[in-house]
């Protein structure tokens, strides 16, 4: 059975895909502009030196302080 659980974006490993659930109001407006809004699928590309995620065909670099304010749902089996 597949369930979904909310985890922080920073917990994804490179290559893992997840659905964006929500983010804190502080970063919301900035991230919306990059096409990052709830419901969209993202992929973690790289964690160091900065987090890099892919959403559609865009790669976006995020600092830890921003990435930790984003919650995603990771499909778990």
């Amino acid at each position: 059975m597949t369930t979904e659980s909310g985890v922080k974006l920073t917990e994804l490993r490179p290559g893992e895909k997840a659905k964006l659930l929500f983010m804190t109001p502080e970063v919301e407006l900035r991230l919306f502009g990059f096409g990052l809004f709830p419901g969209i699928e993202i992929e973690m590309i790289q964690r160091f030196p900065s987090y890099i995620i892919r959403c559609e065909q865009t790669e976006i670099a995020l600092e830890t302080s921003v990435a930790s304010q984003v919650t995603v749902s990771k499909p778990t089996i």
């Binding site: 990059f34 096409g35 809004f37 590309i45 065909q57 865009t58 976006i60 995020l62």
Partner: protein, 655 residues
């Protein structure tokens, strides 16, 4: 007749180009108006408005190119420029330029633009890249959904532009309200195939072969470097005997061939071919460069290739060709014969002659250096490499109260500090803009200056080179560190879009380099001549001696430099590269010891920015801040020079 007259009275239709950063607004603008604006592959190339008029099918249009925006509620200065223009200009049409690869994100902005109650036209640009990645968009279906014309374009080839032109008079308003539901986006976006899925084995083999070739090239390059340092036989040195020997022009040609074969071809050729041939290689390379483990070595190789190009090819081979060939061989002797000795002769060809110094420095020393730097730099700009370095450097910039985004104005400062000061607008907070402006004024040498510096240091020891660049970088870091703590305000978090690695289009590089060279000839050369004339007059009026005597205690006392260096520093304020060219000349004439070269180069690099930058700082930061920055920078530069000189003396460092 009457028809024609009324037509002339009609005001041009105003079309504002709006879109996310780095989607190709400027490329579309350039094609619509036949006006060239700088186009690069990083977000933030355009930080100000550009207007252009064009007559299309008998009607006049005014197009306005704007800085890219993430959304209408904008944060940074450059984005505000765009929001303001939409409010104040009352456009007849908004042309939203978008990256077809990111449809969802595009439509988010479309929905916001729809609220402005203005006719809207959507151009989905980069169709070529969509095709390459197997993304197909049903433009007609999208058009029906949102109620406005939608066209697919490739700005760099001109594909789809006849359709844009057909819709320029569109009166359609967008009906999109809020987030588009994902179901219908899926419907429009059919046949999406990601490049890494469904690729066949041959594709992967090809990519691996290219990667191997590039790595091999880089290794040969590194061996050439390290080998030359340790006295090991290298490809470079084995060419010694193979190439015919020669003097003068033949020697220059020989040097050029040797450089090309040993340094540039092994790295650049496989790399360029790989970039051109294979999208997957580009994606993979894009990942390598922003990882610590692979990114740092790639950065080192990149820097050394640029160094070879500017320091050796530009500052040695080309300067030699122009200075000794053109000026020394033909022009100056010819003029010497024409102009009899006397005042006119001194004015044109004397110690501070407008031609023998002003033009020679400008055209024979600085121009070849800047031109070769511009080529290398344009290439880096268009490849998409620079934003990836921002990712690598974010952690360092964080300590300085900035974030990785600040890397862009900093590295652009190597092109031209004045332009880069304007680019600080892409930073989100006031504090960041101020810190970046100060650091630019303090320690980022502009292309011409950097090139000349490279030209000088190739002639001295590696240790001396390291001391110069190490000191400058250390100062930037220390000042940033202090500023981060004493200036009020906040740094903002780092969020940056990273464009794909692209193979630069040689036509764009040529055009951009041409434009920059033209700009140099127009802006800098007159200042070179003007500066020389001022020096000449001061010298004639015997004021120069007083001026030099006034700064004597600092120049000869503290810095222990020959007094002539004072004039060079003065020239440096007019144009930093002019000052550097003066040092270049002094160093070659053997007027400076290695230690003096190191100290004077360090002071010159840290010294006050040129006049043009001074005015730009006033414009961006106000007069008070500009004066404070200048005062701080001059005092700091001299202090660092003094300390450095003292340290070298005390430690007994042999450079």
């Amino acid at each position: 007749m009457i028809y024609l007259q009324t037509e002339r009275l009609v005001a041009p239709k105003k079309v504002v180009l709006v879109g996310n950063p780095n989607v190709g607004k400027s490329a579309v603008f350039a094609r619509l108006t036949s006006r060239y604006v700088t186009i690069s592959n990083y977000p933030g190339t355009t930080v100000d408005l550009f207007r252009g008029r064009a007559r299309i099918q008998g009607r006049d249009y005014e197009f306005i190119d704007t800085p890219g925006i993430q959304a209408l509620h904008s944060q940074s200065e450059d984005e505000r420029v765009t929001s303001n223009v939409l409010k104040s200009e009352k456009p007849d049409l908004i042309l939203q330029v978008a990256d077809g690869k990111n449809l969802r994100r595009t439509l988010l902005l479309t929905a916001q633009l729809a609220r402005l109650k203005c006719p809207l036209l959507l151009a989905l640009n980069m169709k070529d890249e969509c095709d390459e990645r197997g993304i197909q968009i049903d433009a007609d279906a999208l058009s029906r959904r949102i109620g406005i014309p939608v066209v697919q374009t490739t700005a760099i080839t001109g594909e789809g532009f006849s359709e844009i032109i057909n819709h320029l008079d569109s009166q359609a308003f967008c009906s999109l309200n809020g987030h588009p539901p994902s179901e219908w986006v899926e419907e429009i976006l059919h046949a999406v195939r990601r490049t890494d899925e469904g690729e066949d084995r041959w594709d992967r083999t090809k990519t691996n072969l290219w990667s191997a070739a590039v790595v091999l090239g880089a290794l040969i390059h590194i061996q050439n470097y390290v080998g030359a340092w340790w006295g090991m036989p290298t490809l470079y040195s084995s060419l010694e005997g193979w190439l015919p020997s020669g003097e003068g022009l033949a020697g220059t040609a020989r040097e050029a061939v040797r450089l090309l074969i040993a340094f540039l071809l092994p790295v650049l050729l496989p790399f360029l071919l790989a970039l051109k041939a294979n999208t997957r290689f580009n994606d993979r390379f894009g990942i390598w460069v922003r990882r610590f483990s692979t990114g740092i070595p790639i950065l080192a190789v990149t820097l050394s290739v640029v160094y070879q190009m500017v320091g050796n090819l530009g500052a040695q081979v080309l300067v030699d060709l122009l200075e000794n060939g053109l000026f020394g061989g033909y022009l100056t002797p010819m003029l010497r014969g024409l102009v009899p000795t006397g005042l006119v002769h001194d004015f044109l060809l004397g110690e501070y002659g407008a031609i023998s110094v002003g033009l020679t420095y400008g055209i024979a020393i600085v121009l070849p250096v800047v031109a070769s730097f511009f080529i290398a730099f344009s290439f880096l700009e268009d490849s998409g490499y620079l934003p990836r370095l921002a990712v690598l450097s974010d952690r360092v910039f964080r300590l300085m109260g900035l974030n990785g985004k600040a890397f862009l104005p900093m590295i652009l400062g190597l092109g031209c500090v004045t332009m880069a000061t304007m680019t600080t607008r892409i930073l989100n907070s006031k504090k960041e803009r101020l810190v970046a402006t100060i650091l630019l004024a303090l320690g980022v040498p502009c292309s011409a200056q950097l090139g000349v510096i490279l030209g000088i240091v190739t002639g001295i020891s590696p240790l001396a080179t390291t001391v110069v660049f190490g000191t400058v970088l250390l100062q930037l870091f220390v000042v940033g560190l202090v500023l981060a703590r004493i200036l009020p305000g906040q740094r903002s978090d780092f969020v940056l879009e990273i464009p794909p690695i692209r193979c630069p289009d040689w036509k764009n590089i040529a055009r951009k380099t041409g434009l920059r060279v033209k700009w140099f000839l127009k802006e800098a050369l007159p200042l070179f001549v003007l500066g020389t004339i001022i020096l000449f007059l001061l010298d004639r009026l015997s004021l120069l001696g007083y001026m030099i005597a006034a700064v004597q205690p600092v120049v000869t006392g503290l810095l222990e430099l020959p007094s002539k260096t004072a004039t060079v520093f003065f020239l440096g304020f007019l144009r930093r590269d002019y000052g550097a060219a003066g040092l270049f000349d002094m160093a070659r004439s053997g007027l400076l010891t290695t230690q003096q070269i190191v100290v004077s180069l360090t002071v010159m690099t840290l010294f006050v920015p040129c006049i043009a930058n001074f005015f730009m700082v006033i414009r961006e930061q106000g007069l008070r801040n500009a004066l404070l920055i200048t005062a701080f920078v001059s005092i700091y530069a001299v202090s660092v020079g003094t300390v450095l000189n003292f340290l070298i003396n005390t430690l007994g460092l042999v450079l």
